[in-house]
């Protein structure tokens, strides 16, 4: 019991650290692309650690499945929106670049 709680706390702390690093990156990085990088990568990793901690804390396999599907869908949505924002910015910078594949 004790070990489980210790692991949960460690996972939570690591997850919070990544969130903090991601937020720091969004605030401090100079341009849009590096900010997006900080936001999506670090925060998704942090969310993954927190999801793992929660799944361990609850301890039932069905709840764990639900929590990890939340993580999976967040991952999918955030990486897609990151890609779209980056593409928008790139086309704004270089308008003659290319036509998108249909």
């Amino acid at each position: 019991m004790m070990i489980k709680e210790v692991i949960t706390v460690i996972l939570l702390v690591v997850g919070c650290f990544f969130f903090l690093a991601g937020t720091l990156g969004v605030l401090r990085f100079p341009d849009l692309f590096s900010r997006l990088h900080a936001l999506t990568k670090a925060d998704n990793l942090g969310l993954g650690f927190i999801a793992a901690a929660m799944a361990l804390h609850i301890g039932s396999p069905w709840a764990a499945l639900k929590i990890f599907s939340i993580w999976f869908f967040t991952l999918l949505a955030s990486s897609t929106s990151c890609y779209l924002i980056a593409r928008f910015q790139k086309e704004k910078d270089q308008p003659t670049d290319r036509k998108e594949v249909e």
């Binding site: 869908f73 999918l76 949505a77 890609y83 593409r87 036509k99 998108e100 249909e102």
Partner: protein
């Protein structure tokens, strides 16, 4: 310890509300407003109102934020052209207007502070009436559902919920009256990104499933017609943005049917119940559970259709400059 979390959350909500109104650029205003909605949703989780939290996150922060973002397409180009000039004159507190507006400013601030003090005092001393928890708890077994909030929404105060669906529909009609019916137009989306299209196709069934889950779980836990309706509306909005506008793809009568289904069936059910000798929306306890589930499903479909239609119509409102001459 938990009080500390509440205090931090309260300060965060107040700070975000302030910042969204004082932000220099409109984009900042809208994004801070998103964050404000999410902070409020967390506050509701802390207060034990999970239903309200889901509704707030989905509709007040999510849906409303999407509408604002869409509106920025109209407003932002002008603001960026002569941004310095307009932004300087935007705020009463800017230096330009210092002299002429001194008295009104002082009066406004004093009035607001006075109002704040009075309302703080009133809220602090509000009498404890005991609430309606006991009444709901005694009647809960007859309502046909186990979750008290759903029981109140769909059974005890079904009248409110019925009229609320009507209010959304009324909002849609008012938007039609404002900008013309643009619902059935096809948006001129540029060549679609293949990744975006695939992700939308992937999310559509999952959002549908999750909405249905929320609808069904509303019987015994947080969830229900509104939350499900907003999730289903998200499908419509995503499809619209992906170049597949739902309302221009289905026949008109079907669209109109989807929009009015919830309101109409609710009313029909009320009349049938009244014909059987009961009052409006007084469900017989034996069938209450089934009736509530049917009503909720149809209401969720109508809410989803109405919200999608609101978004689609607002999204199509932007006109080419030469169109404006012809409409005036």
């Amino acid at each position: 310890m938990s009080v500390l979390i509440d205090i931090i959350l309260a300060i965060l909500a107040i700070y975000l509300a302030f910042q969204s109104l004082l932000a220099k650029r409109l984009t900042q205003t809208v994004f801070i407003f998103f964050a404000f909605g999410l902070a409020l949703a967390l506050a509701w989780v802390r207060l034990g109102a999970i239903d309200v939290a889901i509704t707030e996150a989905a509709i007040a922060a999510g849906f409303m934020g999407v509408l604002f973002l869409d509106a920025l397409r109209d407003f932002s180009p002008r603001t960026s052209n002569n941004q310095e000039k307009t932004e300087a004159a935007k705020d009463i507190f800017s230096k330009k207007n210092t002299k002429s507006l001194l008295l009104p400013r002082v009066a406004l601030v004093l009035g607001l502070v006075l109002f704040l003090l009075i309302s703080l005092e009133a809220i602090w001393n509000i009498p404890d009436g005991g609430g309606l928890t006991v009444s709901v708890e005694t009647m809960l077994p007859e309502s046909g559902v186990e979750h008290p909030v759903t029981a109140v929404l769909l059974n005890f105060r079904a009248y409110d919920t019925w009229l609320e669906i009507g209010v959304i529909l009324l909002g849609l009609l008012a938007i039609f009256a404002t900008g013309g019916i643009k619902l059935y137009l096809k948006p001129d989306v540029p060549a679609q990104d293949i990744l975006l299209r695939q992700v939308i196709l992937f999310f559509t069934p999952i959002l549908f499933l999750f909405g249905a889950f929320l609808l069904y779980i509303g019987k015994s836990g947080p969830g229900g017609a509104f939350q499900a309706g907003v999730l289903w509306a998200a499908i419509g909005i995503l499809l619209h943005l992906g170049g597949k506008p739902v309302f221009s793809m289905i026949p008109r009568w079907l669209g109109q049917l989807l929009l009015t289904l919830g309101l109409g069936f609710f009313l029909l059910l009320g009349f049938i119940l009244m014909a059987g000798g009961a009052t409006l929306f007084e469900y017989p306890p034996a069938y209450a559970g089934v009736l509530i589930l049917i009503v909720e499903t149809l209401a969720a479909i109508s809410i989803a259709a109405a919200l999608t239609a609101i978004f689609a119509n607002l999204n199509q409102m932007q006109e080419k400059p030469n169109d404006i001459e012809s409409t005036t």
